[in-house]
């Protein structure tokens, strides 16, 4: 029967690979006999399989609890783990492609060395040879520059499993190094909530069912957090109204009771306009403010002085009457929740806009309430030991001298990586280690990053695929997927924590980041004893155990991490964040007037900071949100995904298309002063006339990278909590013309 046949030939391929692996003395795939045939009918892929628990680790709100089905050493299928009441036994379109990711013919099988960077002339090498090249380069650098500061790490969110912080640990274990610091994703919002509440902490998203009014503000969970939709619908079934505020009619907006098409980056003006109307009508929760907030009097004075409905209407493009209705409904239908999206803060005034929304939630007394809240994200379940990350420096290591006489690593801005790499001197960066990241695809100005690569003596990339970045490296090392390693994962949205069991042997010669660190440590110490402190032994599962402390165990209500093998656990946090009233600001209250913000050159009050305007020569705002079929540069390249989503496109409003003579399916060029891309037009009134929308993704065989047009413009906040300001991805302006 069909699938059996193809499965068999596939297994044969794997078996051949396994034989090769055995020859290389690096272990690898243990091959099992071929699956038993099924005469006819449509055999279920996972019949007779053993089940393991996994977690999808790829930087997502939902961070799904998964089950993997293994038979004869082969991953047969995946499913959601019903033990997690948030993900509810379901995955998303991306999660269901995992078997094809694990066994993709494009997956990296062995360490490889490239003849000349970007030449495509790859040569398979052994792990020993790869590590020898790397270790010698590190030691050479140390000799030449007197420290390991010329070694730079760029690692972020391709895999958020806690053990993968072992990469940072590996860097620490060789000495002081240069680190790409910050987060491209959400720092402006984090700082905003840090100024207002002391940190970011959203209500349990499962608590959304208790809301009577929900504003989804610049967030598109129908694409980026599908499991949240169930709770939103449940709330609606109980009578809640769903409002979506977004510059484009997103998938979530299409499901809303009320959709408001706001001008991009003017969300603060809308929130302030609503606040003024609420103030004028006496809907302010004075009692709550008195007990829990500071600075609200000044805020109200600002509102009375500078904010009117008409002003808000002019700035946001939303009729004043609509703003007034929204303000009334939000303030009088309690509890009311606002979910603040990450797209909303990817602007030069993004953090400030988040603060205005926070203030709106505070003055209506919606903070700290079940069914209420200004939900952004949280890190309350991330209190692990980070044992894999915390490594002592080798004796005599030199770094950047701090004023107090101690040494530290050298930090450069992850959000302007290329330019900072080019600029950093004394010593320059000469070696790059890239893991869980694809900067040549995902960074703004990837042209500059690529230019910075030219100064490198050695670029090492650890990945599953020959990504844009891997293709521009000297050495690529094959990484394991979560099915091939142990780990533990938390979410920055829901409250669940789960263990990730090793379900299958590593694919060919793939290795986990921690295993790579151990091997590198052994190699370094063999070449120069004492040059690396990373341990060279211990199983990954043991390391998972070391990540747990009593506080984490208590939070999860377990005595031992092994209990997580019975299923993920939900942290015993307050269901409604801040319901204890213990805010973590300096004053211990909601700081509508922030005591910290001015220290970072920011307004103390959530006043409106005008949005960035389009320059005349580039009149279109190019918004580049997350894609339904991918997570940044992951998943879109999988064959099953290519089958349902074969090519990228740009969404153009019919009026703009008509003005530019563009028809559906035409090829258009989108360009500005730093770059361009060419892709197909999709005419749709889901966008606005001055907004073009294309979705970030990596299509393996296409020269598609919308970041060619994206400048490294910083957002307003991020410095305080994440080390660097974020990126104003959505303050990107372009022009468009028809190509053919």
């Amino acid at each position: 029967m069909a699938y059996q046949l193809s499965r068999r030939s596939f297994l044969k391929g794997l078996a051949a690979g396994g034989a090769l692996t055995a020859l290389t003395a690096y272990g690898g795939l243990k091959m099992a006999p071929t699956a038993a045939g099924v005469a006819d009918g449509y055999p279920e892929a996972a019949a007779g399989a053993r089940v393991f628990r996994n977690v999808c680790p790829r930087n997502c709100y939902d961070t799904c609890s998964m089950l993997s089905y293994v038979k004869d050493g082969i991953l047969r299928k995946v499913s959601g783990d019903p033990a997690n009441t948030f993900t509810n036994g379901r995955l998303c379109v991306k999660g269901y492609t995992y078997t094809r990711r694990v066994y993709s013919p494009d997956r990296l099988k062995y360490p490889m060395k490239q003849d000349k960077r970007g030449s495509g002339r790859w040569q398979r090498i052994s792990w020993d040879e790869a590590l020898d090249i790397i270790a010698r380069k590190i030691l050479d650098i140390k000799k030449q520059y007197g420290s390991t500061l010329p070694v730079c790490l760029n690692k972020y969110s391709g895999n958020f499993d806690i053990l993968h912080y072992g990469i940072e640990g590996m860097m620490s274990s060789i000495g002081y190094t240069t680190r790409a610091l910050g987060t491209p994703c959400w720092p402006a919002g984090i700082d905003a909530q840090t100024y207002d509440f002391g940190t970011l902490w959203n209500n349990d998203p499962e608590d959304l069912v208790n809301s009577r009014y929900i504003i989804l503000w610049g967030v598109n969970p129908a694409w980026t957090s599908v499991h949240s939709m169930r709770f939103l619908y449940a709330a609606r079934e109980k009578g809640a109204k769903l409002v979506v505020i977004d510059p484009v009619v997103t998938q979530t907006a299409s499901k809303a009771d009320l959709y408001l098409q706001i001008k991009p980056a003017t969300d603060g003006a809308l929130a302030l306009g609503m606040a003024r109307h609420i103030l004028d009508n006496g809907w302010v929760d004075q009692e709550y403010l008195k007990a829990n907030a500071v600075g609200w009097e000044e805020f109200f004075a600002y509102l009375r002085r500078e904010v009117t409905l008409d002003w808000a209407s002019k700035v946001t493009g939303i009729p004043a009457g609509v703003i007034a209705d929204l303000a009334r409904e939000y303030a009088t239908t309690k509890p009311a929740a606002i979910w603040i999206g990450y797209g909303l803060q990817r602007h030069t005034n993004g953090g400030q806009n988040v603060r205005a929304i926070d203030a709106l939630a505070a003055i209506t007394g919606n903070v700290g309430k079940s069914g209420g809240g200004a939900l952004y994200g949280h890190l309350e379940t991330w209190g692990f030991n980070y044992a894999a990350m915390t490594m002592p420096k080798p004796a005599g290591a030199l770094g950047v001298k701090k004023p107090d006489g101690t040494m530290s690593d050298r930090f450069i801005n992850i959000n302007n990586f290329g330019a900072e790499l080019l600029n950093v001197k004394d010593p320059p960066v000469k070696m790059l280690w890239i893991a869980c990241r694809n900067p040549l695809s995902q960074d703004p100005e990837p042209q500059v990053v690529q230019k910075a690569f030219e100064n490198m003596d050695l670029v090492v990339t650890v990945d599953h695929f020959l990504t844009r970045t891997a293709a521009w490296s000297d050495i690529v090392l094959p990484a394991t997927t979560q099915f091939e390693e142990y780990g533990v994962n938390a979410s920055y949205w829901h409250y669940w924590v789960g263990i990730n069991e090793q379900a299958i042997e590593p694919y060919f010669e793939a290795k986990n980041d921690v295993q790579i660190a151990m091997l590198l440590s052994a190699k370094l110490n063999a070449l120069e004893p004492g040059s690396c402190t990373y341990p060279t032994g211990g199983s990954l599962e043991e390391l998972v155990g070391k990540e747990f402390n009593q506080k984490m165990l208590d939070l999860l209500g377990i005595a031992d991490y092994r209990e997580l093998k019975q299923g993920p656990r939900k942290a015993k946090l307050l269901t409604a964040a801040w319901s204890d009233g213990k805010f973590r600001t300096p004053s211990g209250k909601i700081e509508i007037k922030s005591s910290e913000a001015p220290k970072y050159g920011l307004p103390a009050l959530p006043v409106y900071v005008p949005e960035k305007q389009a320059p005349p020569e580039y009149p279109y705002r190019f918004i580049t949100p997350h894609w339904r079929h991918g997570l940044h540069s992951q998943f879109q390249n999988i064959d099953w995904m290519m089958n349902v989503s074969p090519e990228p496109f740009v969404e153009i409003h019919p009026a703009t298309a008509a003005a530019k003579g563009i028809r559906d399916g035409d090829w258009v060029k989108i360009y500005n002063e730093i770059g361009y891309l060419t892709l197909k037009a999709r005419i749709t009134a889901t966008t606005a006339p001055e907004i073009l929308v294309a979705y970030e993704a990596w299509y393996k065989d296409l020269d598609y990278n919308l970041n060619y047009t994206v400048k490294a413009v910083p957002s307003d906040m991020g410095k305080k909590a994440t080390g660097n300001r974020g990126l104003a991805f959505h303050d990107n302006f372009v022009n468009i013309e028809k190509v053919r």
């Binding site: 193809s6 379901r90 269901y96 129908a222 169930r230 009619v249 098409q261 349902v644 749709t684 606005a688």
Partner: protein, 189 residues
């Protein structure tokens, strides 16, 4: 004839996430090309507002299946519970069913030289489980109708714009039509 099983496609809830389609592939580790279940985006012009609405369709396990009728080798059969089964072993790959089905349900697998289609996860049904697509929907937009004849379905309809004429094969599918929220748009002036 026993009860007729069917699908309820709630296009009001459906977010077009493609999870059902991919869950189907995952369940059977199917070949890349054939799409036993397929998520179709409703044309913007069919809707009161420009929106993103979807229809997730698989084999409709019709009361009067065209595939079964035209198949020259008798590879199709209809179970007591109404599932239209395709016998992969018997199929000779003439593709006539792919032409006759109004819904594009049977699809040709070039690699195998045979047709294949949604079997409504009959093994799962026999074990009392939900079909893979239904079990995968994160928002409950896909349901298995256990008995179409007695399906009350207030607020459900038999067809939606673009859905092929249901009189041809009497498909065992019902829809909840999309509901329209209010849009305050900037291009409205």
């Amino acid at each position: 004839m026993g009860k007729q099983l069917g699908f309820l496609v709630d296009t009001e809830k459906c977010i077009g996430c493609f999870g059902c389609e991919m869950a189907c592939k995952n369940e059977y580790q199917a070949e890349v090309k054939p799409r036993w279940r397929r998520v179709y985006q409703q044309k913007e012009g069919n809707l009161p507002y420009p929106e993103r609405n979807f229809m997730s369709l698989a084999c409709n396990h019709c009361a009067d299946p065209a595939c079964l009728k035209v198949c020259p080798v008798g590879a199709y059969s209809k179970r007591e519970d109404g599932i239209v089964l395709h016998d992969h072993g018997r199929c000779i790959g003439c593709r006539l069913c792919t032409m006759a089905c109004p819904y594009g349900a049977p699809q040709y697998n070039e690699k195998e030289g045979k047709v294949e289609k949604c079997q409504l996860c009959y093994q799962k049904i026999d074990r009392g489980e939900e079909p893979a697509c239904v079990a995968a929907c994160p928002v409950g937009a896909l349901e298995l109708i256990k008995d179409l004849a007695s399906f009350p379905g207030p607020g459900t309809v038999k067809e939606l714009p673009g859905f092929p004429d249901i009189t041809i094969t009497r498909p065992s599918v019902r829809f909840v039509p999309p509901r329209t929220g209010i849009q305050i748009r900037r291009d409205a002036e």
